[in-house]
């Protein structure tokens, strides 16, 4: 028996969510990846590896529901990603649990838990009081990775039920490091005029040993990339985020607020992104980025 279940695909999420055992008590992890199971078992009382051909939320949800009834958990924890939100919704429906998403802090007060969550597109935060059963989705960068436990948890493998729908999956093209794992991320927005101009963004990212990504319009409307950063895309928390030609709309900013340092390059002095940046370079990106690349090369050459 455990008091909570956590779901994570990435090992870094598994380590972060494990830190909630301080508040909730013993947690078991559910993960689809057997590769990570051994590493994850150092952080959890128990690890369930749920094997699936491809991710299909209803069947993964069913597998989690079975584990919930076996373990008697009343708290379910997910990363605040698209998949995490889907599973939180499905399990909330199944268990009659209130879902709380975009959680940036959790504390307790007697029997109750107080979740601080983002709302209004990330412009505001609010405290929500809940009692178990509940599900919660934790924002990227909200938690620090946990320490390992004294003894490794047991690992159990399960098969998820067959999906009721047909699913085919094409993984994101991995061009170098992925933005969620990189220490430096360069993000490009609609200030970039043509697809070819993304080459300089990629070059800048490469010089900094980091990853590149875009805002949603560049990916979803123009098809210049197969993922984007923001509330409906990737949530990142690098050491350095460089936003190039990005206005700083809340839906995008919610995905980058966990960054340690934010730099913005924008030619509109009044762009909202400057309010949320440590260093705001006011200027034409087509002039600034090439100089940045040149100077970084000089430094690397030395």
């Amino acid at each position: 028996m455990v008091s909570a279940l956590a779901y994570a695909e990435e090992i870094s999420w598994a380590k972060q969510l494990a830190s909630l055992s301080k508040l909730f008590g013993d947690i078991a992890l559910v993960t689809p990846l057997s590769d990570n199971a051994e590493e994850a078992s150092k952080y959890y009382k128990k690890v369930y590896v749920v094997k699936t051909k491809t991710f299909e939320p209803i069947s993964v949800g069913k597998a989690i529901e079975n584990i919930v009834s076996k373990e008697g958990a009343k708290i379910l924890i997910f990363p605040c990603t698209n998949k995490g939100r889907m599973l939180a919704g499905i399990l909330s429906g199944k268990l009659g649990a209130i879902p709380v998403t975009d959680v940036i802090n959790v504390s307790s007060s007697g029997e109750k838990f107080i979740m601080t969550k983002l709302t209004f597109g990330g412009n505001a935060k609010v405290d929500v009081e809940v009692e178990p059963p509940f599900t919660l989705c934790i924002s990227a960068g909200a938690l620090k990775e946990a320490e390992t436990r004294g003894e490794a948890g047991e690992i159990e493998e399960l098969e998820a039920p067959e999906p009721q729908i047909e699913v085919s999956f094409e993984p994101r093209k991995a061009e170098g490091v992925s933005p969620e794992k990189a220490e430096v991320v360069v993000g490009a927005g609609r200030g970039i005029k043509k697809k070819e101009d993304l080459d300089m963004i990629k070059e800048l990212a490469k010089l900094l040993g980091g990853a590149w990504s875009v805002t949603r319009p560049l990916a979803a409307d123009y098809g210049w990339a197969d993922s984007w950063i923001g509330i409906s895309g990737l949530m990142i928390s690098p050491k350095l985020y460089i936003a190039v030609g990005i206005s700083g709309q809340p839906h995008h900013m919610m995905g980058v607020r966990g960054s340690k340092v934010i730099v913005a390059i924008n030619n509109d002095e009044s762009a909202p992104i400057f309010e949320e940046s440590d260093y705001g370079v006011v200027g034409d990106l087509y002039k600034v980025v090439p100089v940045l690349i040149k100077k970084l090369k000089e430094r690397r050459g030395r």
Partner: protein
């Protein structure tokens, strides 16, 4: 075929202002039908045009503006509009919202397909659609960027954090629609005028056997991560500005 589309009255988050204490000034903030919800209405209406679906639009809330977005849905072409008159609908927990929507299936359905937004522009919890699917035991096609209906099946493309998913499901199904799924039509003046005369059916949560539950919300304030906000002017001397930036980033130890 019967279709339901759920629409939410949302704050235009790009226009929210805060007072000096950081409290949002909500009274003057414009409220609209969510962007993704508009795309959901558009999908439902296309299904009506292409496959003869009968489309009902529903919103949960009780203000004048809730009636207004139902009229907007009428102007776009839905057949029927229903308001579930819950007081304080902004404070209802997401489970209650999903339960209300699920209970409409008995009262007005059963629906073969239910369209919801993939995320409301303001709350953006994105959990309502999945919750609804699990409450009804429906299939789920979530975060759909492209939607088609062929050979009795819904086919969607969905971009998630690890890549692209192509999914197919036959009804009954809940489809959550992103704001990229289509370009919602702009109603003509004639459509708008006609929408004003259409009936809006009123239902109360208790008619549906739902006990509404409000969540306790406290300390609603502006959220800002403290930042240094140092501005560097690169409009004239780009070289100098970039040098300055690099020095500061080196001092921060991030490059």
């Amino acid at each position: 075929m019967k279709a339901l589309v759920a629409i939410k009255l949302t704050y235009d988050v790009n226009q929210i202002k805060f007072d000096k204490e950081g409290n949002p000034i909500l009274d003057s903030c414009p409220k609209v039908m969510g962007e993704a919800d508009k795309c959901a209405v558009e999908e439902a209406v296309r299904l009506k045009e292409r496959a003869g679906a009968e489309v009902t639009a529903v919103t949960i809330g009780s203000s004048k503006e809730h009636y207004r977005i139902l009229r907007d849905a009428y102007a776009m072409g839905v057949d029927k509009a229903v308001i579930v008159k819950a007081e304080n609908s902004e404070k209802l927990d997401a489970l209650t919202i999903a339960r209300i929507l699920a209970s409409l299936n008995q009262r007005l359905g059963p629906f073969d397909v239910i369209f919801v937004g993939s995320g409301a522009s303001d709350t953006h919890s994105s959990v309502i659609g999945p919750m609804l699917a699990s409450l009804l035991g429906y299939k789920l096609l979530a975060n759909s960027d492209k939607i088609s209906f062929e050979d009795g099946k819904f086919k969607v493309v969905s971009t998630l954090e690890d890549g692209q998913y192509r999914m197919e499901a036959s009804p009954p199904v809940v489809i959550t629609v992103t704001s990229e799924a289509n370009e919602p039509r702009i109603p003509t003046i004639k459509d708008i005028l006609r929408s004003k005369k259409k009936p809006i059916e009123e239902i109360s949560p208790s008619d549906l056997g739902i006990e509404t539950r409000e969540v306790t919300l406290r300390n609603l304030t502006r959220y800002v991560v403290p930042r240094k906000r140092i501005k560097i002017d690169a409009t004239e001397n780009v070289e100098e500005a970039v040098e300055k930036l690099l020095k500061m980033l080196e001092e921060e130890g991030v490059i």
